[in-house]
C-alpha cells in the first residue's frame, strides 16, 4: 500500500506529516518505506535521523554523436522536440540539460551515428532508522529534470510493506510523477487564502488522476475557516488537523519530530493510519 503526502504549495507541513506518519507506522508494521520524492529539496532525512547505508547515482541516457559516422544530415536536430540536439554549422551538438532521453534522435539517425551514454542527474540515498527505510532522491544542482529521478526513487517502493511518499509541491510534472501510482493521497494545507487556493489545485490534480484522497489541515487556528468550508462543500474528508502550536514550529526548526517530543499528538497520527487502512480495504 502506498500513501502519498502532497500539497499545492510547499511549506504546508508535508514532510512533518510524512515523517511522523512513518514513525507511527513503524510501531505497527514490520517495516515502513519512506520515499522522499521532493528531490529538489529533500528534508525527510533531517527528521528521521537514520544511518546512511548506501547511495546510488542516477543516470539518464543521452545521445552522443560519433562524428566519423555523421553525415551532417540534420535529421536528429530536426526531430528533437526539446531542442536538446542542435545542428551548429551542420554538426550536431547535444545540450544535455534539455534532453528528455526519449531516444528519438538515435532512432532517426540513418547512418547510426548516435548511441546513448549515461548522464548523471542526481543521487539516491538509502537510510535506515529502526524499522524505517528512508529512500531519498537528491537532484544535482543545475539539473532541471526531476521526474526521471523521482521515477528512480519510486523504483524502490516496497511491494509488501507500507510506503509513504513525501511528494514535491505544486501541480505539474514532478508531483504527477510522484503520486501517479499511489493508493491514497493526503493533501496538506493551511487555513489561509493561500492555503485554500493551492488546495483547490491539488484537489483538481487528485481528481484528474482518479485518486482517493483526504485533506490534512496544518496550523489550525492561525487563519480562518474557509478551508473547512470548502472541504465540507466538496465532500472531502478532513483526516487530520494539527493546531497552530508554536512548540511545533520550534521543533520543526530544530529538525525534531513532533511525536517524540509532544506525545499528545501521537493518537491523531495513529488514527490517520487506521482511517486510511479502512478506506483502502473497503475500496472506497
Amino acid at each position: 500500500m502506498t500513501i502519498a503526502i502532497a500539497s499545492g504549495k510547499g511549506g504546508t507541513g508535508k514532510t512533518t506529516i510524512a515523517t511522523n506518519l512513518a514513525i507511527v507506522a513503524s510501531e505497527k508494521y514490520d517495516s515502513v518505506t519512506l520515499l522522499d520524492c521532493d528531490v529538489e529539496e529533500p528534508n525527510s532525512h533531517i527528521f528521521i535521523n537514520g544511518k546512511k547505508i548506501k547511495e546510488e547515482v542516477v543516470n539518464v541516457r543521452i545521445p552522443e554523436v560519433d562524428e566519423s559516422l555523421c553525415t551532417e544530415c540534420g535529421a536528429c536536430s530536426n526531430f528533437c522536440q526539446y531542442n536538446a540536439i542542435v545542428s551548429l554549422k551542420g554538426k550536431p551538438v547535444v545540450f544535455k540539460e534539455m534532453c528528455h532521453s526519449c531516444g528519438g534522435c538515435t532512432l532517426v539517425c540513418q547512418p547510426k551515428a548516435i548511441h546513448e551514454v549515461d548522464h548523471r542527474i542526481g543521487l539516491i540515498n538509502f537510510y535506515k532508522s529502526g524499522k524505517i527505510n528512508l529512500i531519498e532522491g537528491l537532484l544535482d544542482i543545475g539539473s532541471p529534470l526531476s521526474p526521471p529521478l523521482i521515477g528512480a526513487v519510486k523504483g524502490y517502493e516496497s511491494k509488501d510493506t507500507l510506503n509513504i511518499i513525501d511528494a514535491p509541491p505544486g501541480t505539474s510534472c514532478p508531483v504527477i510523477e510522484a503520486i501517479r501510482d499511489a493508493d491514497y493521497l493526503i493533501l496538506v494545507t493551511e487555513p489561509t487564502p493561500f492555503g485554500l487556493n493551492d488546495l483547490i489545485l491539488a484537489v483538481e490534480v487528485s481528481r484528474k488522476l482518479n485518486k482517493k484522497f483526504s485533506v490534512a489541515i496544518n496550523r489550525v487556528g492561525s487563519g480562518d475557516d474557509r478551508v473547512h468550508k470548502y472541504c465540507k462543500k466538496e465532500n472531502i474528508p478532513i483526516i487530520l488537523e494539527i493546531p497552530d502550536d508554536r512548540r511545533i514550529a520550534e521543533l520543526y526548526s530544530n529538525g525534531k519530530i513532533i511525536l517524540e517530543n509532544l506525545p499528545e499528538y501521537k493518537k491523531c497520527f495513529e488514527e490517520v493510519l487506521e482511517k486510511i487502512g479502512t478506506v483502502i480495504q473497503n475500496g472506497q
Binding site: 510547499g10 514532510t15 522536440q81 526539446y82 526519449c102 531516444g103 510534472c173
Partner: protein, 291 residues
C-alpha cells in the same frame, strides 16, 4: 542596453517561506515597477494584489500524441518505443495515449507504420496582463497536470520585460517558484538580483545552500532574507554565517508575526497593514534599493 531594468527575483528553497508576501510588499514599496508571478504552480500573488485583467492569452506548449483508432492496426510499435510509458493497451486490445504521461517527444508519431498518430498542440494554461494598485502585473494560470511550467515561466518573465520597456519602468519584481528545478532556472536566467527567502530551520539551512549555489552557478547576485528570524536565533546566526561564506548578503531579518495571516486574509500586503513585521520589510527594501 544600459537602461535594462533591474530585475529582482524572489525565490526560496522550499515553498511557504513567505516569498509571495515579501514580493508583494516590495512591489508596493517600490510604487513604480512591473510585478510578475512566476510561481505558476501555486500562483498566489493575485490574492494580495487583486488584479484587474486587461489581456488574456492561451498558452500552448509542446504537443501531445493521439492515436486515430480508425487507422491503427494494433501493431504495438508505439507502445514499445515510448519511453514514458504513456501508451496503454486497453482491455479490448486498443492502444491509446495517457495524456498526463505523454511528454510529446514525437517518437510514436514518427515510427507508427500506419501514420495513425496525430500530434496535437497542447493547451497548458493561460497568461494575463493585469492592472493592480501597485502597477502592472503579468501572471498565469497553469493547467492542471500540464507540463512545461519552465516555458510558461520564461514567457511571463519576457512579457514582464517587454511591459517594463513599454511603460518605461526600471524595476521588475518577480515572485519566483520554489526549489532548484527547471521553473527556478527559467525564472532567474538573465535576472540581475535574486532574493532568497529562508526561515531559521535546519531544513532551511540545507535549502539555502542549494539555492545560493544555484544563483552563483548562473552568476546572479544573491541576497538573503531571513523570515521569522526570532523563531530560532541560533539557527538564524548559522544562516548569517553561511550566507557570508557563500557571498550572499543578508539584507533583511523579518520577525515572526502572527498578524501576517490576518493581513493575507484581508488581501493586503504586509506593508499596507500596519503590523510589526512591516517595518522589517521596509528596512530590507531600503537596503536592497541602495545595493
Amino acid at each position: 542596453m544600459d537602461n535594462k531594468p533591474r530585475e529582482i527575483v524572489v525565490i526560496s528553497g522550499k515553498g511557504g517561506t513567505g516569498k509571495t508576501s515579501i514580493s508583494a510588499s516590495l512591489a508596493y514599496l517600490s510604487k513604480d515597477c512591473i510585478v510578475a508571478d512566476c510561481d505558476v504552480d501555486a500562483a498566489d500573488l493575485y490574492l494580495l494584489l487583486n488584479p484587474i485583467t486587461v489581456e488574456k492569452h492561451d498558452f500552448y506548449s509542446g504537443h501531445i500524441a493521439k492515436i486515430n483508432q480508425e487507422k491503427c492496426i494494433g501493431c504495438g510499435t508505439c507502445k514499445e518505443l515510448c519511453r514514458f510509458d504513456a501508451i496503454k493497451k486497453n482491455n479490448n486490445s486498443k492502444f491509446s495515449v495517457e495524456p498526463t504521461s505523454c511528454e510529446g517527444c514525437k517518437v510514436c508519431v514518427e515510427f507508427c507504420p500506419e501514420k495513425a498518430i496525430d500530434f496535437l498542440e497542447r493547451l497548458c494554461g493561460e497568461w494575463m496582463k493585469s492592472e493592480t494598485r501597485v502597477g502592472f502585473m503579468v501572471h498565469a494560470k497553469l493547467g492542471i497536470a500540464a507540463e512545461n511550467s519552465g516555458k510558461l515561466v520564461s514567457l511571463i518573465r519576457n512579457e514582464a520585460r517587454k511591459l517594463a520597456q513599454e511603460k518605461g519602468k526600471n524595476l521588475i519584481i518577480i515572485d519566483g517558484p520554489p526549489g532548484i528545478g527547471c521553473p527556478v532556472i527559467a525564472s532567474i536566467t538573465g535576472a540581475t538580483d535574486v532574493l532568497v527567502v529562508t526561515e531559521p530551520t535546519i531544513s532551511g539551512i540545507h535549502d539555502l545552500e542549494r539555492v545560493v549555489s544555484l544563483a552563483n552557478h548562473f552568476r546572479i547576485k544573491p541576497y538573503v532574507a531571513i523570515n521569522k528570524f526570532d523563531l530560532n536565533p541560533e539557527v538564524t546566526e548559522k544562516i548569517e554565517k553561511i550566507s557570508n561564506e557563500l557571498n550572499a548578503q543578508v539584507v533583511g531579518k523579518i520577525r515572526y508575526d502572527k498578524l501576517v495571516t490576518k493581513s493575507q486574509i484581508e488581501g493586503k500586503t504586509i506593508v499596507e497593514s500596519n503590523i510589526p513585521s512591516a517595518q522589517d520589510i521596509i528596512n530590507m527594501w531600503e537596503r536592497l534599493k541602495i545595493n
